[in-house]
């Protein structure tokens, strides 16, 4: 409280900030008209405000700070993308595994599985015949299979050549 008056410096501080009830503010305003000590205290608050404001307004943020913030944000985005990629891949793999199991156990899956097995055995047979050819010519069905495959391939080549030639002439 300032000497010789009933208004405390804390009340004056709040008054300066525009706080307090309208009634209190009115009383302080009336008091300030006659009390020089309180008027001086109020002026000192004003001086402090302008000093602090001037001080901080003069201090500019470093120019590189903005780039540092962008780098931090880019790091976050990069980490987020990596996280998404990692979990996305894992989730896809799990879904694929579940889908394969579901297909394999369904009636359609069993048919598909049988076809795959047939194809697999066929391919394996062809592979074996090719492998045995240099060493086991004339020893079984493999050389025959090789000849059949070569024949089938040559037919395919002929058909393809014929098709290309027709298109060429059409153009």
């Amino acid at each position: 409280m300032t000497s010789g008056c009933h208004i405390s410096t804390e009340q004056l501080s709040a008054y300066y900030d525009g706080e307090g009830t309208p009634e209190t503010r009115r009383q302080i305003a009336v008091h300030l008209e006659t009390c020089l000590v309180c008027a001086e205290t109020l002026a000192s608050y004003e001086s402090i405000s302008s000093r602090v404001s001037a001080l901080f307004t003069a201090i500019e943020a470093p120019s590189w700070l903005e780039n540092a913030v962008y780098l931090s944000l880019a790091e976050i985005q990069g980490a987020h993308e990596a996280w998404r990629l990692k979990w996305g891949t894992l989730l896809t793999a799990i879904l694929m595994a579940v889908g394969l199991v579901a297909i394999a156990t369904s009636p359609v899956g069993r048919i598909v599985w049988s076809i795959i097995r047939l194809l697999f055995h066929g391919v394996r047979g062809i592979f074996r015949s090719l492998r045995d050819l240099p060493f086991g010519a004339g020893t079984g069905a493999y050389p025959v299979a090789f000849v059949v495959i070569c024949f089938a391939c040559s037919i395919l080549f002929v058909i393809a050549g014929f098709s290309i030639s027709r298109r060429w002439h059409t153009v």
Binding site: D17, R51, V52
Partner: protein, 187 residues
């Protein structure tokens, strides 16, 4: 003089876009609000290096939590709250840390640079050194950001009466300090 007094339409649009995940819009917000965040951080901490860290961290947190912001109008207050709380946390963790030790070397090399004159820097250093982190935060929010007592109380999560008394204490301390500095200069 603070940012909280009114939001420009351009900022409102940027905040809306940034909330939807537009990184470019947030980049523009960083450009527009870096001074605002920097001033609060420096005001509370009084330490350049820590203020830089807090500014970065405040924007990173803001970027992460922006989708939770309810209205664009509250963005400056919300950003001020994030920054102030972060700065106070850092200040409490490093209590006893003295300002002159952390002031950059360029202070003495460049008499008038981006930090203002030497007198300004020394006054700022002395001024902040003698106040507690809470008093500094209250002073900055009041004097620079023009926040009401209620808003400051909300930011710092303290009673409004505490805001009033701490701000008064900070002003008294500054008043005495400035008077004694002036007396020293005269003699």
């Amino acid at each position: 003089m603070g940012w909280g007094s009114g939001l420009e339409e351009q900022d409102r649009m940027l905040i809306r876009l940034a909330k939807q995940g537009d990184a470019q819009a947030f980049t523009q917000l960083v450009h527009n609000y870096k001074q605002f965040v920097w001033q609060i951080a420096l005001g509370v901490l009084g330490d350049w290096a820590e203020a830089e860290d807090v500014t970065q961290e405040a924007f990173v947190r803001a970027y992460r939590s922006l989708p939770t912001l309810r209205t664009e109008e509250t963005f400056p207050s919300w950003l001020a709250t994030v920054t102030t709380r972060l700065a106070i946390d850092v200040a409490r963790r490093k209590k006893g840390h003295r300002l002159p030790q952390s002031a950059p070397d360029e202070w003495l090399e460049d008499p008038v640079d981006r930090y203002g004159t030497i007198e300004n820097r020394l006054l700022l250093t002395t001024l902040l050194e003698r106040l507690s982190e809470d008093e500094r935060a209250i002073l900055i929010l009041r004097e620079l950001e023009d926040k009401s007592y209620q808003e400051i109380a909300n930011v710092l999560q303290i009673p409004i009466g505490t805001v009033r008394s701490r701000l008064h204490n900070a002003r008294l301390a500054l008043k005495h300090m400035i008077s004694s500095m002036e007396r020293e200069n005269e003699s």
